[in-house]
Symmetry: C2
Subunit: 202 residues, 2 copies
DNA sequence: GTCTATACGAAGATAGAC
DNA sequence: GTCTATCTTCGTATAGAC
């Protein structure tokens, strides 16, 4: 768009993503993004005509694509179980490295979003959907039936996101470790067991 | 404490919990709680000397105990699997009834909490721990070994919380439905399969 | 693209009367 | 227990110069 690449614009989006992880969506104000990224105050609405909402939205898209891209790369590399392990390990390292202050920026936006900013909810939903699909491919490649792969992808994404939240609150990686351990058992069980009919729920 | 029971105080705590569910922690301002609960503005700091932080804290404790109490009641009633189904159903109904606006208030606080309000993180952690223990009892009663029951409790709580977040973003109960379906398979698998040694992760 | 200055609202919290 | 100011800080956003 611009005649030359803007450095401060990219730094603002990265800074916004970092603040989303550590402080949540509401606390990610324009002022704090500027302070964190060192970008100049005067050009905020030049780079982001949509104001703060646009900035957050781009940060969500960037952070979302980063994770989904990792999963895609793992699919191409061809070792599904190692890829899932890496997925758990990524969050574990982020938690520890940040002193248990960093969580998932997508979750932060999804939880704090309300009717006044519907676009942010849609962006968060798109990131979740993208991630689910990438992970489902991984499970199917690992030998699960397609339907089970999709269901399991939802379950695993949900469990990881929930575990990260609990890890932050507990200041411990124990919830994520427990989830990883159960996950191993789960994948083996779903691959080995025949698909019996299951009870219908109300 | 007071010579007679205060009505507006309880209404404020309930109102705060409702706002936490629908709008998140940062959006749960004292003003909004007052407007939502119809409580008088003048007595806020009489009832809550600790200010807004104390109000949120009590709302977290109240909402947390409500869910944990449901699980406890299910344990006493003696039908573990029905109890878990009810656990999933509770969230499903809350989502649908609120037009997919309501989430988990504990998650909201946990995600938005930062270093300036460390007590809130501790309160959220306590609620999660309480819920994990109640659910672990349920699984052990269902026939799982104690260690697996504890691990599975963490996993299921995490998956439900994560699924609720995704349901809100997607405006659909599909993630929660998928989690419930996988959960059935998981419980059966972990009860039936012998406890093999599993690979150590870094 | 970047600057300073400023308008405007909402938030938490306190003071002092009743 | 409840009322009505009021203080201060912080947030988004805009205006207009450079």
């Amino acid at each position: 768009m611009s005649p030359r690449k803007s450095d401060s614009r990219a730094r603002m989006v990265l800074g916004a993503a970092a603040l989303l992880r550590e402080y949540g969506a509401s606390a990610t104000s324009v002022d704090r993004v500027l302070a964190h990224s060192g970008a100049p105050r005067g050009s905020v609405y030049h780079h982001f005509p949509g104001g703060r909402a646009q900035l957050i939205d781009e940060a969500v898209a960037l952070a979302g694509e980063f994770i989904a891209g990792l999963i895609d790369a793992a699919v191409r590399a061809g070792d599904p179980l190692a890829a899932i392990d890496a997925f758990f390990a990524l969050w574990r390292h982020r938690l520890v490295d940040s002193g248990f202050r960093a969580g998932c920026p997508i979750v932060a936006v999804a939880v704090e979003t309300n009717d006044e900013a519907p676009q942010l909810a849609r962006s968060a939903a798109a990131v979740f959907a993208r991630r689910r699909e990438a992970l489902a491919v991984l499970f199917v490649r690992h030998g699960l039936p397609e339907e089970r792969g999709r269901l399991l992808a939802v379950f695993v994404i949900a469990a990881v996101e929930g575990a990260v939240i609990m890890c932050r609150a507990d200041r411990s990686t124990a919830p994520l470790d427990a989830a990883a351990e159960i996950h191993d058992l789960l994948v083996h069980a779903l691959r080995d067991r025949p698909d019996r009919g299951h009870a219908q729920r109300s």
